[in-house]
């Protein structure tokens, strides 16, 4: 018995990128190959065969072990080599050098619905998809009812899947894959699909698989919440190399903190462009009116935005989003909620300030996106992640959470107080009367 489920040793994978002439399709034709053959032969004889193509290393010298029963997350930005690694583990593509030893049966879930045939019925597709994923016919028969129940498609079993709603399609596909019985399960981005409720069901199922059935899972995802939720250990890939590995929350924080390049200037002048409504300038200011990107949690953040409106635009609004460093939207605000109302419909140059109240944002880094738009109809100008700022906690020591890394989205100004037993009834009675009167 071995406690290592999977051992990756000095794994590298290269692709040859051909330098194509402009206007050529992405794949070669026999004609191309034949007409360039003499030149390529000459190049090869001269030993400079690299002049017509370039070697690109998708993975460089990757080594790590995965223990039996472990749920390992692999994260990284697009092009970091995550999918290539999964494809090698799943034998879809092969390494250029190095190797992998796998102890156990591998099952993979690289894309939901792979191998579904639109003309075939749900029932037929369960067998087809199951077999493609590596199940035997007998195994599928045994699990058939369970799969159908999980997917909630009983009534549509004999309908061709091309008539399924996309939700049903995804549910059925995930259901088949989730009932695979491998000792090592490879999962890539399956949770990017389906509605929130089904996503939760999938997450629960995967957690179940990992925790209760003691299976080894390798999970590749951009969904940091899912990674944090499921994985005990993480490997961060950057440009084909292991940038960091270890405890999930540390690696995720390193990824989220380090991979995005923050904009540090407190004020930004945007290059002029054409348009009916265009943002010219945005800036962040502290309580004394000084431009800054660092704020105390007890002081307001003043966001100023200058913009031009060329012609009258009924209903025009200036809005902004504030995102946390994890990429979650913390809140949205728009000028139409201003009291007293501010109209920006008429042509002219506008200078607007928005004040984010103190004790709203938690200590951390944030970015903001500004937009000029009419509600639900037209976007005139948008400046993504225009400004970045940090909130420095003045009460950080009082504010350590249970897990230390997730304190929620906002600082809630909750009133805490000590109550005497006799007070409880009156307090409850008081709130009930408030509810009743409103």
């Amino acid at each position: 018995m071995s406690d290592v489920a999977l051992s990756i040793q000095n794994l590298s994978k290269s692709f040859r990128i051909a330098h194509q002439r402009a206007g050529r399709p992405g794949y070669q034709t026999l004609h191309d190959e034949l007409t360039t053959l003499p030149r390529r032969l000459i190049n090869r004889l001269r030993g400079n065969g690299k002049s017509t193509s370039e070697i690109f290393w998708a993975l460089k010298n990757i080594s790590f072990d995965v223990k039996t029963g472990e749920v390992l997350g692999i994260i990284g930005s697009n092009g970091a080599g995550k999918s290539t690694l999964l494809k090698i583990l799943n034998r879809i593509t092969e390494p250029t050098t190095g190797g992998v030893d796998i102890y156990g049966r591998v099952g993979a879930l690289l894309e939901v619905g792979t191998g579904f045939h639109p003309e075939l019925t749900g029932r037929e597709n369960i067998f087809l998809n199951g077999a493609i994923l590596g199940m035997t016919r007998a195994e599928i028969k045994r699990k058939f009812d369970e799969i159908v129940a999980f997917a909630e498609v009983e009534r549509f079993l004999d309908t061709p899947v091309k008539r399924y709603s996309s939700g049903m399609y995804v549910r059925l596909a995930f259901a088949v894959a989730a009932h695979l019985d491998p000792e090592i399960l490879l999962i890539d981005e399956v949770l990017a699909v389906g509605d929130a409720e089904f996503q939760k069901k999938c997450l629960d199922k995967m957690e179940d698989v990992a925790a209760n059935e003691g299976r080894t899972v390798i999970f590749v995802s951009h969904n940091m919440d899912a990674v944090r939720h499921l994985c005990s250990r993480c490997v961060l890939l950057r440009q084909g190399e292991i940038a960091r590995s270890g405890n999930t929350s540390e690696v995720v924080a390193a990824y989220l903190g380090g991979e995005q390049e923050p904009q540090h200037d407190p004020v930004v002048h945007f290059p002029p462009k054409d348009g009916d409504a265009v943002i010219r300038f945005a800036g962040l200011y502290g309580p004394e009116g000084q431009p800054t990107t660092s704020f105390s949690s007890s002081e307001p953040v003043v966001l100023k935005c200058f913009f031009n409106v060329k012609r009258r635009i009924p209903g025009l609004r200036l809005s902004f989003d504030v995102f946390s460093f994890k990429g979650d939207l913390v809140f949205y605000s728009t000028i139409s909620t201003a009291e007293p109302a501010i109209s920006i419909e008429a042509p002219g140059e506008y200078k607007i300030a928005a004040l984010i109240p103190p004790r709203l944002l938690l200590p951390g880094s944030y970015s903001t996106t500004l937009a000029l738009h009419t509600p639900k109809t037209k976007l005139y100008d948008r400046r993504r992640q225009a400004l970045t700022f940090g909130i420095v906690g003045t009460m950080a020591d009082k504010f350590d959470g249970f897990s230390g890394d997730d304190l929620g989205q906002v600082y809630a100004n909750v009133k805490w107080q000590r109550v005497e037993e006799a007070d409880i009834e009156s307090a409850v009675g008081h709130s009930v009367s408030i509810l009743a009167s409103s």
Binding site: I92, E94, T96, G99, D101, L110
Partner: protein
């Protein structure tokens, strides 16, 4: 593609001790390593995936005439009309000989074998590209995809076989024990078609030229295959032997021998046919295995 790599799968390979820590003494179930050059056919793995093969075959059969009004009737209608037209052209217009067999029966025999051969080659040659999503997302022996068409096209052949017996009754051709040799010739046709299909499907992954080249090749091949004329039209035995280098000639003549008992097939021609069939299958299979490792990267 000279630096291709592939994956060695082995349950019995000895481990190189240096690469492993002492805690990993047990044998890995799977070793993924780059390998160079020609790869083994790995028939054992192919066999372990037989369930998937049958399900793919089933899928091919179910899907092919879906959402058509007359469905499977096309299987019967297509060769019937083609045979009728060709029989009229051969018998009435061109006045080609038919070794004394009624023209319709003569042409139909040839067309049965030809249809099976060309349908298999054509359907499977595009199969990998049509299933690009599968090839780039899931692992299984890629050979199963073209191979599944070798089997699913047998359904079309079976339908034509029923029609053949109807024709034999109409033309008062008594069935003989020679009919028992049909599976043998069918088997040879199948392995040749599979060989051609493996070549073209594998080439098609990299060069989409095959989409245009194969139909053209098949068209020429059809006229070179003694389907609407008998091999006996070629008088010199030496040229006949050379003619047999095209294995389809052997299949067609052999099949006619099974049905009507008259044929120009000689033992030498038969041996050449068998040799060519085996060559087609093996060369196709080894070529496929050689280039298979790059499919997911270039499809």
């Amino acid at each position: 593609m000279s630096t291709g790599t592939s994956i060695a799968v082995s349950e019995t390979d000895t481990l190189q001790g240096s690469a492993l820590t002492p805690s990993q003494r047990s044998e890995p179930t799977l070793r993924i390593r780059p390998t160079k050059g020609w790869a083994a056919l790995n028939l054992r793995e192919l066999w372990s995936y037989r369930d998937l093969l049958w399900i793919l075959v089933e899928r091919n059969i179910k899907v092919i005439y879906k959402q058509t009004a007359i469905g499977m009737a096309w299987v019967a209608l297509q060769p019937l009309i083609a045979a009728a037209v060709l029989a009229i052209v051969a018998g009435r217009v061109a006045k080609l000989p038919s070794d004394g067999t009624p023209h319709l029966l003569f042409v139909f025999c040839g067309l049965m074998i030809w249809n099976y051969f060309s349908q298999t080659a054509q359907r499977s040659s595009t199969s990998l590209v049509n299933n690009a999503q599968l090839v780039s997302k899931v692992y299984f022996p890629r050979m199963l995809i073209p191979l599944s068409h070798t089997f699913s096209t047998l359904v079309d052949f079976a339908v034509m076989l029923v029609m053949l017996f109807v024709f034999m009754t109409i033309y008062h051709v008594a069935p003989t024990l020679r009919l028992l040799a049909i599976p043998g010739f069918l088997f040879l046709t199948a392995i040749t078609a599979t060989g051609v299909a493996l070549w073209f499907s594998a080439l098609g992954v990299k060069y989409r030229d095959t989409n245009y080249a194969l139909p053209l090749l098949l068209q020429i091949w059809f006229w070179a295959s003694a389907i609407i004329y008998p091999t006996s039209m070629i008088e010199s035995p030496r040229w006949q032997t050379l003619f047999a280098l095209n294995p389809v000639v052997g299949f067609v003549e052999g099949f006619r021998w099974c049905v009507v008992g008259r044929s120009a097939l000689t033992p030498t021609m038969l041996w050449i046919t068998i040799g060519m069939s085996v060559f087609a299958l093996l060369s196709g299979a080894f070529f496929f295995r050689r280039v298979e490792r790059n499919f997911a990267d270039i499809i």
